[in-house]
């Protein structure tokens, strides 16, 4: 009898461990997937509070001035995308959310937010519009935000700047010997170029501008930027001949899934499938994404965040967007359980914060958890998916 009791208790413990934590942490997955307003609004309100706080780079504690500046920039950039996506999900809030988005754009245009890019290039990105200095770290992502905003306000106050940024990025890609723009001098990251592609494609759809040359070149180039065995996106390449400098990574691939969804649904889906096939891991109902492909290990970096047992916070979090975008409910639910466990959402005063996220974490989650299906960005313009080449022949 004593042994039977022990066995039964162990069995109950095993089942409880498998069910209770993941079920509790993942209980909001359905609500998030169904775009329930209270949750999305709570994240929006938190982003607005951070914006009102007029953050400086010193708030981010990365230990690096450059990365502090990137995170300051990223906080407003992701919040802007979140507001836009919320406006699309809930049209009754369009005006309010577009205004919030515009407030984020104003933040992005301030000298203190541009400072990180200015320090790296030795010149201001907005002053360098039209030059041969790409400034992809700033202009690529600003361009995407402006393209998204232009979808709402075709003749808005940022239209002229948007045109200049798009022309600059178009030329940056054309001028590059490898068809990719430099994020910082001498540094080329394919994932940062996906934001440029998203920006140009959306600009083309919204305004009728012609970016086919660079978009088609990107579509032809993309297979060579993907790992042949996994289909994951190479993290960094050399600016002269495009050889691999840093191999495929989960964080970069997952973020590229999100940015490419603004440009080409099939390219985005193909990368998401590669992530799901090769990088998805689960334990006791919690899902996560590896940072390095199976068989490879690494310590990660500022882009991946902490890497534990091979999985990274960034790859896992960014994949929330990919799974939402491509209707991958099962993966989303598993990843959300993990994101909730490690992010620790806190709800107070109608705002949702992530206790382990900080300003950037809050903004990222706002954007990733409101990401729209790729078809959203193709709709309402009457124009077909951009890019004529296939998504890539790398195995998945």
């Amino acid at each position: 009898m004593r042994r039977l009791r022990l066995l039964l208790v162990i069995a109950v413990l095993a089942v409880s461990l498998r069910v209770i934590p993941s079920a509790w942490c993942g209980r909001e997955a359905a609500a998030l997937l169904d775009d329930e307003l209270p949750l999305q609004l709570a994240m929006a309100r938190r982003s607005e509070r951070w914006r009102d706080a007029q953050l400086h780079a010193t708030a981010f504690m990365t230990g690096s001035e450059r990365f502090d500046g990137e995170w300051l920039f990223g906080t407003s950039m992701m919040a802007a995308l979140g507001h836009a996506q919320l406006a699309l999900a809930h049209p009754e809030l369009r005006d309010e959310q577009v205004r919030a988005m515009e407030d984020c754009i104003e933040q992005l245009l301030t000298p203190r937010v541009r400072a990180f890019d200015r320090a790296a290039w030795g010149s201001d990105p907005l002053d360098d519009l039209g030059s041969d200095r790409a400034h992809a770290a700033y202009l690529g992502y600003l361009g995407l935000v402006l393209s998204v905003h232009r979808r709402f306000e075709p003749d808005g106050k940022h239209a002229a700047l948007h045109e200049r940024v798009m022309a600059h990025l178009h030329q940056a890609l054309r001028r590059s010997p490898i068809g990719l723009a430099q994020t910082y001098p001498g540094e080329v990251y394919p994932v940062d170029n996906t934001s440029i592609i998203g920006a140009l494609a959306l600009h083309q759809r919204v305004t009728g501008a012609d970016h086919h040359e660079v978009l088609d070149a990107w579509a032809e180039r993309l297979p060579s930027l993907r790992d042949p065995s996994t289909g994951l996106l190479t993290q960094a390449v050399a600016r002269t001949d495009g050889h691999v400098v840093d191999g495929p990574r989960g964080s970069g691939t997952a973020l590229a899934v999100y940015f490419l969804s603004f440009a080409n649904a099939e390219q985005s889906r193909s990368l998401h499938e590669a992530m799901r096939s090769h990088m998805h891991r689960s334990l006791l109902g919690f899902g996560a994404m590896r940072e390095y492909p199976p068989g490879l290990e690494g310590r990660g970096d500022i882009d991946s965040g902490p890497v534990m047992l091979g999985v990274s916070i960034s790859a896992t979090g960014f994949s929330l967007a990919g799974s939402r975008i491509h209707g991958d409910r099962e993966t989303f639910e598993a990843l959300w359980s993990t994101a909730s466990l490690f992010g620790a959402p806190v709800d107070r005063d109608g705002m949702r914060s992530f206790a382990l996220g900080g300003p950037l974490g809050d903004a990222l989650m706002f954007a990733l958890l409101t990401a729209r299906p790729a078809e959203t960005w193709m709709a309402d313009t009457g124009m077909a998916d951009t890019g004529t080449a296939q998504a890539g022949s790398a195995s998945s």
Binding site: P21, G358, P359
Partner: protein, 104 residues
Amino acid sequence: MSRRRWMWLVGLVLLGGLVHALAAGAMVDHGIAGALLAGGGGLGTVLAAAGFLLLRLVGFVALAGVPALVLWWSWPLHGGRTRSGDTCTPTVSARGQRPFDSST
């Protein structure tokens, strides 16, 4: 399972939830949120964030253990019923006298 054990269990669960909620709020209020992600801000900040995460993880494991613990406490190994036909027969009465003997 004694009433005291139930109260302890419920109390610990509630206390754990309260401590967690307060710690999470403190993380947000004191700008520690994001420290673990960033990895900077000083050792104290990172340790505080790591400590909160550990508290959270341990808390969930403990919560998952509650059903097993309830089962362990509730499963009687020595049953309260006596053998069939037995009656409780005192050998000494309350006044120190032998109980009534029908044979005398």
